[in-house]
Symmetry: C2
Subunit: 82 residues, 2 copies
């Protein structure tokens, strides 16, 4: 995975998920150190419109803006944060 | 929230999410220290059938077995794990 590319793209995600992967508000999940396969599975579910409720109306468009490669990179990036 | 009640109930959750909230496999999310409001929002989304895809077919029945009070307790319990 391209962690540098992910780090650059993560500037957008940081607005809710925090620059270090600890979210800025309790309704947004922390991503720091989360399991990589779970992160990828969640991004794909949002992109496929398989997640409704909660903050999905906020997260779905974000995931739809990501390519498959982006999602792989982002999952690797956030799971790599210690 | 009743953390003792949650701890007892968490024996079921531990099978995938780990006794300490660090999941046993990469496809299951870590829950340790996750944001409380996010955990509750996720449980409610699973219980309402608003999450499809990923491992939702496994998690939805688990959430459906929880009462509203259980969900509040579980969210408080896992977010309290350090």
């Amino acid at each position: 995975a391209d962690l540098e590319a992910a780090k650059a793209k993560a500037v957008v995600c940081a607005a809710c998920h925090g620059a270090d992967g600890i979210s800025v508000a309790a309704i947004y999940p922390n991503l720091k150190g989360q399991k990589e396969a779970y992160l990828l599975s969640s991004l794909k579910a949002y992109k496929a419109g398989e997640r409704k409720g909660g903050m999905s109306m906020l997260m779905t468009p974000q995931a739809m803006a990501l390519s498959d490669a982006d999602m792989v990179n982002m999952a690797a990036y956030y799971s790599s944060l210690k």
